[in-house]
């Protein structure tokens, strides 16, 4: 099977103008990923795992290297340099991101938060709500909470809403930033089952998990991340 993602020598650093200082976050990261595989980024806190994930999603501008993504149409797109409009289109239809914390519009109901990406893809309201409801149920968010805004939820509930939203949207490549960090064991198991189901459907994933047992269970590829340049400089 052909790779869906090839990361080539990816590096990310920040230049902080205020202090005239360059802060390296990660460098020299390369790996390949096939559909249905999960690559886990492992390394100590502060090693630059989240920065790498954000660089793949282009929330951070990569400093160097390539992020070659094979799109649904078969073409190869370098996410590191692709035009912003291409990135926006891919984010809408193919590439999802489960952030560490839930960022959502205030005031929207939980059901709307979860259904929103589908609505933006042009899915009809009823169908979007139905799929959203299924995901919320699968993650054991009580139905009485669905019309409340997630702003009022506990950390674990919010995180589950966040996961429900990303998995409702679906996609061909999903980036997971500690999706199980604030979850109780039952919820964690639900999320793992969801990740395994998505893998079985051919979704490729890059994830960060603080729990190494989860890495062993879910990951097909392990990528060690070290903040090399920073250590060299120190």
């Amino acid at each position: 099977m052909t790779d869906i993602l090839s990361v080539r020598d990816l590096a990310k650093g920040f230049y902080i103008h205020d202090r005239a200082k360059h802060v390296p976050a990660a460098e020299g990261v390369s790996f390949d990923l096939k559909p249905g595989q999960l690559a886990a980024l492992v390394g100590p806190s502060g090693a630059g795992k989240s920065s790498l994930l954000k660089a793949i999603y282009r929330t951070y501008v990569p400093s160097s290297g390539q992020v070659l993504y094979r799109s649904a149409t078969g073409g190869i797109v370098d996410l590191a340099t692709a035009p912003e409009t291409a990135i926006t289109a891919l984010r809408r239809a193919e590439i999802g991101f489960v952030t560490q914390f839930l960022h959502c519009l205030p005031r929207l109901s939980t059901l709307d938060v979860v259904a929103r990406p589908l609505l933006q893809q042009g899915v009809a309201r009823a169908a979007a709500h139905e799929k959203a409801a299924r995901m919320l149920a699968a993650l054991a968010i009580p139905e009485q909470l669905w019309d409340a805004t997630p702003a009022t939820f506990s950390g674990g509930e919010r995180q589950r809403v966040n996961i429900a939203r990303s998995f409702t949207q679906g996609g061909r490549l999903m980036l997971l930033d500690e999706p199980t960090a604030s979850l109780d064991p039952v919820s964690r198991e639900n999320v793992c089952a969801m990740i395994e189901a998505a893998k079985a459907e051919g979704v490729a994933m890059v994830g960060i998990f603080h729990d190494l047992a989860l890495v062993d269970r879910l990951a097909d590829v392990k990528i060690e991340v070290r903040r090399k340049a920073f250590e060299d400089a120190a």
Partner: protein, 276 residues
């Protein structure tokens, strides 16, 4: 994605202007006043592309030229140099070579503007419904009943109580005036909308509801929008791409989350880190 608006090297200089104006102003010189001739360089060499259905933010502090830029595009002001092409329904209008009648026609029917100050976008001497009727009339809707029905529907959609449509907007609250302005801007189904600091100066709860309304209308109608704001929250919630201006120049452009989380320019880093 198809473009709806292409802006190329748009420049606006207030004052006599001289050959040095563009060279001695801008972020590198930390001023927009030309020291040779005293002219104010409001916008210099600004180029951007807006796509169909896209919401593009224009961010910057007061005096950075962001309002000047959209006002030229809405024909409130004339550029000193540069051009802009509006791709509308298969036609490409080069905005600044059109005659005045053609410009007014586009402005009245194919573009909409919502100003920070409702007094600029509304006629305070006629009723709220009349304000919408006025724009519909300019777009050749001449049937009284049709106009009345449309105005009622638009005001209902922007949550202005229909019972108040015959009142003068000068008697409305700021938030309600803004709603009437939005209803008016949307009335002709224009594909291109300019929003100039539409929530600035409103109560927080009112701001939130206006933003919700704009977002909902955008999703339903697919209208393309240029959103001028100095409010990072507005940019974060409303836009997918953002450009940053300073001293009349575009200094940075990118995906909105990238601009907010990994700003590249020194000024943008400062701006983003100044958020409370």
């Amino acid at each position: 994605m198809k473009p709806i608006l292409d802006v190329e090297a748009l420049t606006r200089i207030h004052g006599p202007g001289c050959p040095a104006c563009l060279e001695v102003t801008g972020p590198a010189h930390d001023t927009n006043i030309c020291r040779q001739c005293g002219s104010v360089v409001a916008v210099a060499d600004a180029s951007l592309r807006l796509h169909k259905g896209e919401v593009l933010g224009i961010m910057g502090e007061s005096g950075s030229g962001k309002s000047s830029l959209v006002r030229m595009l809405y024909f409130d002001d004339k550029p000193t140099a540069g051009r802009a092409i509006f791709h509308d329904d298969g036609q490409a209008h080069e905005l600044f070579t059109l005659n005045e009648a053609q410009q007014l026609r586009l402005r009245d029917t194919r573009m909409g503007m919502v100003y920070q100050n409702p007094a600029l976008g509304l006629n305070f001497d006629i009723s709220a419904g009349g304000n919408i009727a006025e724009r519909l009339l300019m777009a050749d809707e001449l049937n009284y009943r049709a106009i009345r029905a449309k105005a009622t529907a638009l005001l209902a959609r922007t949550e202005v109580p229909p019972a108040r449509m015959d009142e003068l907007p000068r008697n409305f609250s700021g938030g309600m005036q803004q709603r009437v302005q939005i209803a008016r801007a949307l009335s002709t189904g224009a594909p291109l909308l300019f929003l100039d600091e539409v929530t600035t100066g409103l109560d927080l709860s009112v701001q939130a509801r206006i933003l919700d309304l704009i977002m909902e209308l955008q999703e339903v109608t697919g209208v393309s929008m240029l959103v001028v704001t100095h409010d990072l929250g507005v940019v974060r919630h409303l836009t997918t791409r953002t450009i940053v201006m300073k001293h009349g120049r575009i200094i940075e452009a990118g995906l909105t989350d990238q601009i907010l989380e990994d700003p590249q320019a020194a000024y943008t880093q400062q701006l983003v880190s100044s958020a409370l």
